[in-house]
């Protein structure tokens, strides 16, 4: 079932064309790697999908409905965007992990929180620590859990393993795969790591100068060798 469809999407901000004639569609449960050089429009695409930017042309459809028909906060609960800069807030980590429950108007589930901490290789005592005391990698993992606790249907990940070592990157990748299998979560992730894209993605969307250069399966993309170099 088609969950996201971009139809001839354009995005111009302050006279700069960030996205041009973007068209693609993805199915529920897909894991899509978004690749491309810096400034290609990868983060702009995520901001458009999450309605942080309003597109200037074309249409984005979620669940067969124009995203503009959704209330922004309702859309963002379903399409959760983990920004490149994790940005934790408040007095401690726990406040960050309580926040999704507060948004969903649910009672915080400590068991669920602890389960996720274990899955991303973080100790329970991290909950009492101040955000500023955490390393970049720890912050990225907390930001990821914070978004997963919203139970979104689509997860947009903007280089969420950039501050992690290989071992912890693999742990995050496994968590993403597990979420995809258990909850049929659709994932779009931005990465500059080809090996990670090969391990994780089913399809690759390659952007260059705000345009879709390739949208194909991982095998097709990497079989084509250096065409994206």
């Amino acid at each position: 079932m088609k969950i996201i469809e971009c139809i001839d999407v354009n995005l111009i901000k302050r006279g700069n064309t960030l996205l041009e004639h973007i068209s693609f569609s993805i199915n529920e449960g897909d894991i899509i790697g978004i690749l491309g050089p810096s400034g290609a429009g990868k983060s702009s695409l995520f901001r458009a999908l999450n309605m942080l930017h309003t597109i200037t042309g074309g249409e984005i459809r979620f669940n067969d409905q124009n995203i503009l028909d959704y209330k922004p906060e309702e859309l963002r609960k379903q399409i959760s965007y983990v920004l490149q800069k994790p940005t934790l807030f408040g007095n401690d980590v726990l406040e960050n992990l309580y926040y999704p429950y507060q948004i969903l108007k649910l009672k915080p589930d400590m068991l669920e929180i602890k389960k996720y901490l274990e899955k991303v290789n973080l100790p329970e005592d991290i909950l009492k620590r101040k955000p500023a005391e955490l390393s970049g990698g720890e912050q990225q993992r907390i930001a990821l859990i914070r978004s997963l606790l919203l139970k979104p249907r689509i997860l947009l990940l903007d280089e969420v393993t950039s501050a992690l070592d290989d071992e912890n990157s693999r742990i995050i990748e496994n968590l993403i795969l597990e979420e995809r299998h258990s909850k049929n979560l659709t994932v779009m992730f931005i990465s500059h790591n080809d090996a990670q894209a090969k391990r994780l993605a089913k399809k690759i969307l390659y952007l260059k100068k705000g345009k879709v250069e390739f949208f194909c399966t991982v095998d097709e993309f990497f079989e084509a060798g250096d065409r994206h170099e």
């Binding site: 906060e73 920004l83 807030f89 919203l150």
Partner: protein
């Protein structure tokens, strides 16, 4: 006090000007203009108030109150350059604080709607509210700049603009109210406020003057809280688009 004593008191302003000149602070011109303006404005308002008090007309009194709020909102709005509808927000919020507090005092029979009672009391309310709105605007602008990432992350997590900006809104209200709260805490210890001192100097019994001052302190805290709440919960909306996106500052 005779006119000569008052004239001699001007020597204190001259001391300030000399100090500014010697230390190269550069405030001599402002001190000179400020002191002349104070003399002219206060003399003029003295005549106006005498006329208004004698006339004792409710409509004229109300017009003066509106003019006071209008001028105060113009000054407060200058601190909010970058805030959408800053002038309108400050006018309405200061007016709300004034109407509620003045209305309560009239309802409780604490004062009557006579210009000699309403105008001085309103002057204090409007003056304090003006400072509160100015501080609030400055804090909102700073908060939306320094906490931009945090607000955006909260939007990404499905928060409504008000929820996402709540920390900044609360900080701004607190900052706006702090001067009033602090001065209430130090009343009688550090400050002997103008109204009470004036009444005592005019021959009113100290206990009566103190009662008035206590009333003013309560009134100011109420007025500033109302003004700050109205202004912040209105002004924060201007930082977002109708699609709950942060505007560029």
């Amino acid at each position: 006090m005779n006119d000569i004593s008052l004239f001699l008191a001007y020597s204190l302003v001259i001391i300030a000007m000399l100090m500014s000149y010697k230390e190269k602070i550069g405030l001599e011109k402002d001190l000179f203009i400020g002191s002349i303006r104070a003399v002219i404005q206060l003399s003029a308002i003295g005549f106006v108030l005498k006329y208004v008090f004698n006339l004792d007309n409710a409509i004229l009194t109300s017009i003066i109150l509106v003019l006071m709020v209008f001028n105060a909102s113009a000054v407060a709005a200058k601190r909010g350059s970058g805030i959408i509808q800053a002038r309108k927000i400050s006018f309405v919020s200061i007016m709300c604080g004034l109407v509620v507090t003045l209305g309560s005092l009239l309802l409780f029979n604490a004062i009557s709607y006579k210009p000699s009672e309403v105008i001085p009391v309103s002057g204090m309310v409007v003056g304090n509210s003006m400072v509160a709105v100015g501080l609030l605007f400055k804090n909102l602008l700073g908060g939306f700049e320094s906490k931009r990432d945090e607000i955006e992350v909260k939007l990404c997590l499905g928060a409504q603009p008000r929820e996402a900006a709540l920390t900044v809104i609360r900080d701004s209200i607190k900052t706006a109210m702090l001067p009033t709260v602090d001065s209430m805490k130090t009343l009688g210890i550090v400050q002997l406020p103008g109204m009470m001192t004036g009444l005592i100097l005019a021959g009113v019994a100290p206990t009566e003057a103190i009662k008035y001052q206590i009333m003013v302190a309560f009134m100011l805290s109420g007025a500033v809280a109302i003004t700050a709440a109205v202004a912040s919960y209105w002004a924060y909306r201007g930082f977002f688009t109708n699609l709950a996106q942060l505007r560029d500052l």
